[in-house]
């Protein structure tokens, strides 16, 4: 800050004046206070005729912050507010929402996007473009599919654990893989899948799942004020159970290019997930030999490989799956200290997984969507062949014979080896 002579100091003074003027004469153009924002937590995208219909779920921070929760008997309330807007384009619909919102719409914290069936059938392209082009939306936003209109799920969901649907879905995203039945991709995954050779993707389906709200026995300390939901009012009587509408994942939709073409049910979704290495853990319920009783195996490791070969002028697809599991429970009394019992159980594990995979494979083949990535393997292994087949790959995939080989291992049988039987010490 040392000025050698007078003129340097004058420059510095002018600079300072310029800075001061810049500060006081200009507005801070993109300054926005955090409490003047409406945080979007999730949104639903639907088609309504020619119009695009957007339904937004906003967090209500005032309620979230210091809200006192009611006593034990009250139903959980969703701490969010819903708005919708429509227009010929998505952004027009988005802007229409601002005509009725006292705060600035803020999309950067959006957790999830629900896509309605109709919209998905018409194509995800414009939605993906909207998300990717918007400066606030991120590619890490989770994306899901609904059967029917997406706004139905968004509006009817009541929430249970979390205060809004976006939070609920991002929680699901973390834990759903431990059942093997589902997964939730984010927008980036979808971009990645659709840009690959096969140009297919799978989106999970989210649906409402009404849960009975546990009845309470109203003997201890009946609240005098909370009479609105009480049916009888007399003490000691069990209140009638109510339902809370929460969401769950069930099945998935198959996309060819960006259009929805077919559905997978719950088991088929897991069949697909085995092949694409999306299963962290999974429970297999296998029947014991004699009767209707079951034995449950928990899969702890699963790894699959997809390959494709030319055999005698004929393309041959291969799916190899290696799984490891441990015994969790059995309703019969098999003795797992014997090797044959383990061997036979392992073969039944393999059978069930094979069945799940082939079911998913058949569904994909009928739809002509190569969601297992055979196209990608072919592109990497046999480039020339791929160049020939590229144009009609979905037709080729329908004809592709695929062998599925599953190698299952039972590693542990829990804390006890022998079956427990009453009276046998």
């Amino acid at each position: 800050m040392a000025f050698k002579d007078r003129s340097n100091f004058l420059y510095a003074t002018y600079g300072l004046v310029a800075i001061l003027m810049a500060i006081f004469l200009s507005g801070c153009w993109d300054r926005r206070e955090i409490n003047e924002l409406a945080f979007l937590s999730s949104m639903a995208v639907d088609l309504a005729g020619e119009q695009r219909l957007l339904t937004y779920e906003f967090v209500r921070p005032g309620v979230t912050g210091g809200g006192e929760r009611g006593g034990g008997g009250t139903l959980p309330h969703r701490q969010a507010t819903l708005r919708n807007g429509w227009g010929e384009t998505l952004i027009a619909a988005c802007r229409q929402i601002t005509t009725g919102l006292p705060r600035r719409v803020y999309l950067a914290h959006t957790n999830a996007v629900l896509v309605g069936e109709e919209m998905a059938r018409q194509g995800l392209g414009e939605l993906l473009d909207f998300i990717d082009r918007h400066p606030e939306l991120r590619r890490t936003t989770l994306i899901l599919l609904t059967r029917g209109a997406a706004r139905e799920v968004l509006i009817k969901e009541q929430g249970d654990m979390e205060s809004n649907l976006g939070k609920e879905i991002s929680g699901l995203h973390k834990w759903v893989q431990s059942s093997g039945y589902g997964f939730i991709p984010n927008v980036n995954d979808v971009f990645f899948d659709l840009s690959s050779e096969a140009a297919t993707t799978v989106l999970p389906v989210v649906e409402l799942s009404p849960q009975p709200f546990p009845p309470l026995i109203g003997t201890a300390a009946p609240s005098s004020s909370g009479g609105s939901r009480e049916t009888g009012g007399t003490e000691g009587r069990v209140k009638e159970p109510e339902t809370v509408r929460t969401v769950r994942l069930n099945g998935a939709g198959l996309f060819y290019h960006d259009k929805l073409v077919a559905w997978l049910d719950k088991e088929q979704t897991r069949g697909w997930a085995w092949v694409r290495n999306k299963v962290r853990r999974a429970v297999l319920a296998l029947s014991c030999q004699e009767n209707n009783t079951k034995v449950a195996v928990d899969i702890t490791e699963a790894h699959a490989e997809v390959s494709i070969d030319m055999q005698g002028g004929q393309l041959q697809g291969k799916i190899k799956v290696k799984v490891e599991g441990e015994l969790l429970e059995q309703q019969c009394s098999l003795d797992f200290t014997r090797e044959e019992a383990i061997k036979s159980l392992e073969s039944r594990m393999a059978d069930q997984i094979t069945a799940e995979i082939s079911s998913a494979l058949n569904q994909a083949k009928t739809a002509g969507t190569d969601v297992f990535g055979f196209g990608g393997v072919l592109h990497r292994r046999h480039l020339e062949l791929w160049r020939q087949l590229q144009g009609r790959w979905n037709e080729e995939f329908k004809k592709l014979p695929v062998t599925i080989s599953v190698e299952a291992k039972l590693r542990r049988t829990g804390m006890t080896g022998r079956p427990w039987q009453p009276g046998a010490r």
Binding site: R31, E33, I34, N35, G65, A108, H109
Partner: protein, 555 residues
Amino acid sequence: MLWLWRLLWREATPGRQTSNEHALPINTRLVVNIDYLKKTFGRSEDLVIREIELPGQKLALVYLETLIDRDVVQRDILRSLLALQAVPLPGDEAKFSRLIRARLTIGDLQEERLWSKIIAGLLDGKAVLMVEGYNRCLLLSIEGWEKRPVEEPVNEVSIRGPREGFAENLATNISLIRRRLRAPELRFEAMNLGRRTRTKVVICYLEGLVLKGILEELRRRLQRIDIDGILESGYIEELIEDAPHSPFPQLNRTERPDKLVADLLEGRIAVLTDGTPFALILPGSLVSQLHAPDDYYERWPLSIGVRLFRFLGIFIALLLPSLYVALTTFHQEMIPTPLAISIAAQRELVPYPAVVEALIMQVLFEILIEAGIRLPRAIGPAISIVGALVIGEAAVRAGLMSAAMVIVIAATAIASFTIPTFGLSQAVRMLRLPMVFLAGFLGLLGIFAGLLVILIHLVSLRSFGEPFLSPLAPFIWEAQKDLVVRVPWWAMLWRPVLTGWRDLRRIKPGLHPFITARDKNARDELETRLGEDKKKSVTARKKGRKKMGKPARKI
């Protein structure tokens, strides 16, 4: 703006030169001399002129009784002089002088004949012994005045380390240094600064280690000083520093003799000022202002951790409020979703934008600190209660502030006290306000612009020619051993290159407690010793087996 410039930069008009009115020798007649002294000091209550008549000689003892040790006057001077009565006095001037010198039981005395020297001596607390008929007199060192005892330093507290701090008395301070550094190379160069205060200032360094150029420059800059008074080392600091407009203290200050000695051993120079416990150390550097003495006294791995937290602390102290403002008003997407929503919820009722909120809190907090310093001890606790209530609780309840802001400001305040030197922590505290302003105006862009300006300034700063960011900005690999990390002493082989290059070796290599392979002799010695131990242990075991074996077989 221009008037400020004129105010700061108007050349100092050459002031009245140091008065030459006393540049005369004293008279041979005692009466004339006493008259002169009376006229010079006027009606000074504490001027004592004791006239003594010895047979054949007239003497006068003059001193300022507030500056001298009365016991010494009574016991050593007057008694010796009066004892002279019994002795026949020689008329010869030189012989008489020798006789007095032989009889006086005073350690330090010197002959002077110039009034300027004599008056300066009187003001230093010396007694003047004048003799009728002589054109020179004796200055006797009998200084003695009220002194504060050596106490623990107030501002530089350390957990481990000496509890002695400098006091106001220069002689005490010098003795504190001498006691720690028993090297004959230790030099104390004294000079008097201040036209009227004539404050004693001492330059202290180690001959053979100090860099000549810096020492010369320091002498030149000190001799240039011509000011009415020097009341504290801050006056000197301001008059000799390189960049007078910078907020950063370019000379290190310390109250601790141990720290000062450590700096002397690195080839630095200290400036001690009479009347203040604060010594200046130069050339200063930012990094050494972030080092605390405990770092070198405590176990080295822990010192690294402590230093890391301290370095983190300075960044928090400088940037946390501005980062909060920038993130909440410009970059909400960078805050994790749940936190963003909870901050938004807290701010629901706050009427101001976050910048204003932060600035208000900052200003309140700075005022609180300043008030805490100025407050009489007795009502000290009151202010903390009021501060805690006003800022912490009531402001949030009243909806003036958000709780998050209170947390941010509190964290900043705590972090700013991790900086060991007060001067630097003040600089950081004052730079925080413009940073908040920039953050509110331009967001992260503003913060980085501000940081860049600070960094450019720091890099360009020099302290007596040495770069202020020394081991960082001209990057010196060897010096990294004592920057963020502090390696153990046996690994810190070299002095800092910039100040200590005249004698770089600090410690003998190979002092690692597990003797390293580098020192062959030591290894050999160790091996022979280990070999003996082995033999001993083997024989011991054999003996033991015999002893244990026999009774076992018997049973």
